[in-house]
């Protein structure tokens, strides 16, 4: 059996996830041995554009040029895996997704300058444009979670991801609940998989893994309001990493509130 053909691509983002893959020092040799890497812009120069078994895509999509490239990858790959929070949810650059007004913000930065390179648009996650078979979120991705998923993906199997929020892993680490200290913590809204690294250092979760499968946004919102948090600040924090996932939830939360007040 020949090794699966794999490509690794980066779009709008910090390339931190590709760096994390290169940083799997002790396992990098295994990875290279197990798969046939056809394209990895960050680590390899002779990148070929051929049929792929698996394409890992990092970063959000924010220009026409990127969109073309993404569509090309999708057409060549059997399986497309979004890696990192930008590719999965949009990342911080998608925090205003739910508010709209991209043109104004763009104009505010570039004014009337004659931009000749590719046309830009509001950054969006990969699955806003093409079908994504799997998401491995994180800012950056977690080595253990990534390797667990990759081992299965390249074998044509379905990986398993924790479907509970950060709080559960946080309790596994026996940390006191940061919310109970009266501080903002996005743990209950956020996908686990990071090993609760931040709360384990007494730093509140900022939600970088993106929204978890089953979360209670309005419940957390009300709790934070009760704790005296400013509503704008709460929303800003929700949106920071949540991107497309949170935008959808905020919309339904607002609809719900409107329904109640009417």
């Amino acid at each position: 059996m020949s090794s699966p053909k794999v490509g690794i691509y980066g779009f709008t983002g910090c390339a931190g996830d590709q760096l994390m893959i290169l940083n799997c020092e002790d396992r990098l040799v295994d990875i290279i041995g197990a798969v046939d890497i056809h394209s990895f812009a960050m680590a390899k120069s002779d990148n070929q554009n051929k049929e792929l078994d698996v394409a890992f895509v990092e970063g959000s999509i924010s220009t026409e040029e990127q969109l073309e490239h993404l569509k090309d990858i999708r057409s060549r790959a059997k399986v497309v895996v979004a890696i990192g929070t930008c590719a999965c949810w949009g990342g911080p650059q998608a925090m205003k997704l739910e508010e709209g007004g991209f043109e104004d913000r763009y104009g505010g930065v570039y004014g009337d300058a004659n931009i000749t390179v590719t046309k830009a648009f509001e950054a969006q996650p990969v699955d806003a444009f093409v079908e994504v078979d799997m998401k491995i979120p994180g800012c950056p991705i977690d080595k253990t979670e990534f390797l667990s998923a990759v081992s299965k993906v390249v074998a044509g199997r379905h990986p398993y991801f924790y479907k509970f929020p950060v709080c559960t892993e946080c309790k596994w680490k026996e940390n006191p609940c940061i919310l109970n200290e009266g501080k903002f913590c996005a743990g209950p809204l956020t996908k686990a998989g990071c090993g609760a690294v931040c709360p384990s250092h007494n730093i509140p979760c900022v939600g970088c893994w993106g929204p978890t499968d089953d979360l209670n946004l309005s419940g957390e919102y009300k709790l934070l309001v009760e704790k005296g948090y400013d509503t704008d600040e709460i929303m800003r924090k929700f949106k920071k990493f949540g991107g497309a996932g949170i935008a959808k939830l905020i919309k339904s939360m607002k609809d719900e509130q409107r329904g109640v007040s009417e």
């Binding site: 299965k152 074998a155 199997r157 379905h158």
Partner: protein, 300 residues
Amino acid sequence: MKKLRVILDEREVDGNPFQPDMWRIVRRYPLTNDVNFYQARAVDVDRTLLMDYLPGQFVMGSVSGDGEAPFCISSTPSRPGLLELCIRKMGTLTETVFSLKENQTIGIRGPYGNGFPIDKMEGKDILIIAGGMGAAPLRSLLLYALDNRDKFGKITYLHGARTPGEMLFREEFMQLKERDDLACLLSVDEDDTGAWTEKIGVVTKLFDEMEPIDAANTYAAVCGPPVMYKFVIQRLVGLNIPKHQILMTLERRMKCGIGKCGHCAIEYLYTCMDGPVFTYWDVLHMKELIGKGVSDNVIA
């Protein structure tokens, strides 16, 4: 067979109850377009002989890399040696099972669950109502009763499927119609083949074809898709079959099969240990089931 059960109990005490044994698939073929039939025998032949079970029990099937899930047993303990499973392509694990070919192995441990109360059913009339995948566990009961024909009273088997092509074991059941020691009534919701010779209509229609029953002396066993239960139970209660003699098998998520992982808990009962066969009287007492309507929680 009694002696074998003793050996089995000893194994359970001494060994790791989570340890799957490897079973070799000796035969597999499609029953419908998304259900495959598997016959397996243990790689270690002694294990095959130890696999002493009751109709209605289940095994935990393992594919390394994809995990474990419960599967009801379709074969009868009265024909030992081979274990038969009907597996529907439903998710990660079953997808891999579908890719397995003859002579490949899967992990099996069990049998688990209470199974049908055969001791109590002996000497009674048996009425079996199967819908869709519900035929998988009920085939075990039916074949068991037929193999021990003298021990049971009248046997009636009602089986409904959506179309002829979706009827599990269609040929096998058609052949049973030729026997004169049971009533085997088959129906399909719609006949897309034009060649169906049996009833057309929902499974409850078959009740009208049935000879009168001796309700107090009858055990009914039901398994089928959620929508079926409400109507079938109505008919059975209408026939005055005592509620504790109406048997149904439930499906739940299970990760262990032996009362440890918690997933199949319904109040204080574990579907894996106290079930999967419950009486309608049990079900009436389970608030969580009734709260959502019987049908929601009972699956083929």
